[in-house]
């Protein structure tokens, strides 16, 4: 079985949407990525840090879904990273209310010995210096996937470029792609980002789906049109986790297979938004994923007789 290293936050989130609000619940990029990737036949190793306030039951839940949590450092005297945000009525925009870095401020990632030979490495959204630290420990990776955000473009652009130059796949959203490239057209943006290093550029457009660029080829996976979006938190990470998990399990790094991986990413993300936080991600079954895959296939398939 292949191995997939996932580095990112394991955190507390407090979320407010038009449908309600939560106290501190389980969140974090690595959590969502791991929960999505765990649906595929690959060994997932989480690399992160939490404080002494992080409930053992959360770690047990991750382990019970066959994730290896040895790489989650526990800083007993510290507090877990905490993010709080409030979504606007359109659910597409949000305000960050609180960001407490806590133990994340001094995080130095340690990849467990038996994951240093992982085939696939997923660098979840974190300081580029931390992402570089993980890359140094996983020199045998056949595919490195990077997720990042505008915050690092504003605050650590040089280091971010260093990471971007070393990865095979980058996943960012449309606004971030525009910021990173200085191009408004996503086709032009992808071309410029391509030239920064990554052979594959994935641009996430939220409810409008995702684009995969590779050389002059483009693939588009729609998001599933949903009756109701309850909480978008973690959808982008879930998308990346589904993508990484599928790719790692199949060990096929071709463009054709990347297309399938994008569809699986979109598939899993469509579940994530149905409930608060990780709630829905903890209950999905293989049958539900298969049924939804059929919906994705029907959604865009058409046949024009030539």
């Amino acid at each position: 079985m292949s191995k997939l290293v996932v580095v990112g936050t394991v955190a507390f989130d407090a979320i407010e949407t038009p449908f309600g609000k939560t106290d501190k619940i389980l969140g974090g990029a690595a959590t969502f990525i791991g929960l999505a990737a765990s649906h595929f036949n690959t060994e997932v190793g989480l690399v992160s840090v939490v404080g002494g306030d992080f409930p053992q039951e959360y770690l047990d839940m991750l382990a019970s879904r066959s994730m290896n949590t040895d790489g989650i450092e526990i800083v007993k005297e510290g507090k877990t990273f905490f993010w709080s945000g409030k979504y606007h009525n359109d659910m597409n925009t949000r305000d960050t209310l609180i960001t407490e870095l806590n133990v994340l401020a001094d995080f130095s990632p340690v990849v467990p010995e038996n994951f240093k030979d992982a085939e696939v490495v997923m660098l979840g959204n974190l300081h580029p210096a931390v992402q570089l630290g993980v890359l140094e420990q996983t020199p045998d990776a056949k595919l490195v996937i990077l997720d990042t955000m505008n915050f690092w473009m504003d605050s650590a652009l040089e280091l971010l470029h260093e990471v971007i130059a070393k990865v095979d796949v980058i996943t960012i959203n449309d606004e971030e792609a525009r910021q990173l490239s200085g191009e408004y057209s996503l086709v032009a943006a992808a071309r410029k980002i391509h030239a920064m290093g990554p052979k594959y550029v994935v641009i996430k457009k939220g409810e409008h789906g995702a684009l995969l660029f590779h050389n002059e080829e483009i693939f588009f996976a729609p998001a599933l049109p949903l009756e109701e979006v309850f909480d978008p938190t973690g959808a982008g990470d879930t998308f990346a986790g589904g993508f990484a998990g599928f790719i790692a399990a199949s060990q096929d790094y071709s463009f054709e297979n990347m297309k399938r991986a994008i569809v699986y990413g979109s598939n899993l993300a469509s579940f994530c938004v149905e409930k608060f936080g990780t709630e829905r991600m903890q209950t999905i079954t293989k049958e539900e994923i298969t049924t939804r895959l059929e919906q994705f296939q029907k959604l865009t398939s058409f046949n024009i007789p030539s």
Copy 2:
């Protein structure tokens, strides 16, 4: 050969985009719809009104592209409808600078005798009273397609509902679908609009593609990701025209065929935005449409072995 009646504006547009600006050029919903529909094997009859200031060469151009212009009334002493708009830098939003109704203010549409038995009727964006007037003259239509906009929802909602109840297909954009239904989710919006009459609801999302709803089924056609969007004016009408032209030519009103029609609509719209006004629509060749169709097929096709 089947017949397609197209009612809508034939107009002058003056457009400003980040790439430049035009004087008064040929525009109007019926013009764009007709130019798109004329690529399919159906007889297109335009129903509209222009003033004495409307150049004969424009009418000749339409006729030369095998459109019947007998239904375009010329009010010698009147002036042609004029619209002027300026696009913002993102090209997705625009300000209307000038709207001069002119001869449109008293327009009473007359469908030419030999088009009263048309199989397909495309009601382009116009006052709902005018659209109803056309429906009364085309009682044998097998498929009626309606395009409308928020302006009529604000100013003539009751009459608009009367039209909506009589049509088979409605095409509106996402914001308009939300306004008309009072629902934010497009799935919920489509369900409510469905209940107002139309068996098929097409929601246009501009650069994010288009959704086709029919009972509980959904089909999605992406927009082609473009290197550069030069002028979005008329793209929605071109989409509707490609849709209507394909459906009329094939005379197949099934859901499967509507999917193909949506893809052709998206195909033609992708050309429209490449130049100012109708410029690009006047030069497209059959080969270009076929090549772009292949791009559309590659864009969303994936294969997941079961």
